[in-house]
Symmetry: C2
Subunit: 310 residues, 2 copies
């Protein structure tokens, strides 16, 4: 039942066609845990500065997130990211990235965080992800990364990928990582590196999962107004990993992982409906359950055979 996430805690400045916000609570670990907390008790590991205060802690505590391993760096400033999305939200421009307290971050996990059944290594430098993985012995570990690390820390990243059960990355990332433009082949190449599960996030197109048993495809929930897509991928991962953590007594089968993807997809569809964490803070459990049902209604079809002309 226990879930630990290591990753960024941030303030974001975001501009989309729907408006502009100068200071939003953000970061991969925050988006992740606000989603995963609907399914499993979640411990967050990551650094913050003096500017991270009671208001921000309260957002996490209101969802029952355990913040004991959030490391306060005295005199430091919290990680800051500024970005602008075009009217086509698939096009994002990073305007500013200040690592701040993240620059010298060395993850230190408490006994409680180390004991997690399920571990998520959000996108940080792969050697840090490796160090965290070595401190734990989880039943299921997944890792996210980004093109930067594929480009500048490839060997470290490959070593770390070799220690996890599941890779959760974007479409373009898995293709770059494996130098393989075909997704089925790219996923197979990842499995040869170690992971037995490859989850590919495809933005507006949904997501796909590849395992030894085969492939699974899930469309995104259709949303007319994407107010702020920041954190959608981390929210998806939070729902996915939270679902796995919540079913500790079950075998981690493809069938379970498919259900996990549905929860991830449903939760991510809420995250994009407002700026930052606004929508997730207001989200109710019954809305999540209803959207998973809606997602199924969006995907079902009758495959009964029909007479064909030979």
């Amino acid at each position: 039942m226990s879930l630990t996430v290591v990753g960024s805690i941030a303030f974001d400045a975001v501009e989309t066609q729907f408006g502009k916000r100068d200071r939003l609570l953000g970061g991969a670990a925050v988006h992740f845990s606000l989603a995963s907390s609907f399914l499993a008790e979640t411990r967050v590991v990551g650094p913050v500065g003096d500017d991270f205060g009671e208001v921000e802690y309260a957002v996490l505590h209101n969802r029952g997130v355990v913040t004991d391993d959030i490391e306060h760096v005295p005199g430091g400033k919290t990680f800051f990211w500024a970005g602008r999305y075009e009217r086509d939200v698939n096009i994002r421009h990073t305007l500013q990235t200040d690592l701040n307290v993240f620059e010298h971050f060395e993850p230190k996990l408490s006994e409680g965080s180390r004991a997690a059944d399920v571990l998520f290594l959000a996108n940080i430098q792969p050697d840090l992800q490796y160090a965290v993985r070595q401190q734990c012995n989880p039943r299921f570990t997944a890792l996210d990364t980004m093109n930067l690390w594929i480009d500048i820390a490839r060997e470290s990243l490959l070593r770390t990928i070799g220690t996890v059960d599941c890779l959760i990355v974007n479409d373009s990332e898995v293709k770059d990582l494996t130098d393989e433009p075909n997704l089925v082949r790219a996923a197979r190449a990842v499995m040869e590196l170690g992971p037995r599960v490859v989850v590919v996030k495809q933005g507006e197109y949904g997501s796909a999962m590849y395992t030894a048993e085969g492939a699974f495809g899930l469309p995104a929930y259709p949303t007319a107004d994407v107010v702020d897509p920041t954190g959608a991928g981390d929210t998806f991962a939070g729902g996915f990993m939270g679902y796995v953590a919540a079913h500790a007594d079950e075998e981690i089968s493809d069938e379970l992982l498919r259900r996990a993807m549905a929860y991830g997809t449903a939760l991510a569809s809420f995250n994009v409906e407002a700026f930052g964490t606004e929508r997730m803070q207001a989200l109710r459990a019954d809305e999540v359950t209803e959207r998973v049902s809606e997602l199924q209604r969006v995907t079902v079809f009758d495959a009964s055979p029909v007479p064909l002309r030979t």
Copy 2:
């Protein structure tokens, strides 16, 4: 039960990482009818030149396609297209387009073609599509187009779209047509032009359908070796429209159209497995039925509610 398609009949020269072919039977109407013929008797309307001979007719006749309205232009040459796909088959370079007999094509439909229950207007100049539509009174008409017509014949295209029940286009085309980067909004904008069904082809990501009732998403069948993607979209349309034509006694409900998309997707997944029409010529009905079942296995998940933390 009767289905008419108006569109290009072509010879293609294609180069992919799997090899090179100088003269393949191709064209939208050909790819379409080889797929639709598994479901409904299909009549092809389009022009050919002296170079279109018994061998090419035989490919269509072997699938029971009615070629009476294939117009032979004496002294003419058949439409020719040459293209090269990169290793990432999503990137296509058109090397040559010779309109040939297509340049002065004016569709003339026989009594049999005009009487079709279901009509598909493959991608040709929109005034020609309009002229065909005016000659018929089908139960269900769908139209494909391309960015060229969106750019240079927009008014003609909009007038023609206003006369059809369904638009079947690529992702980028529907976004360009409506100047709307969000797919849900783009589909709504199309519905305001007339069609009540919008089918969006998304290549490796699958397809989506939008109607007044809501959205449907269907992943592509996962294929590791895309030998030649030429004609995949037309093959999809052939399966989709063929399914509708085969169920003339049923109301054209969302449920029926979803099943139609599954047949389109399954058929398209075969088309890309070999160059040109090679795979479709060898395809057996039982393989189609089996792949539709496989497609469902690739997409199902259990959406049962689970306890959530509030």
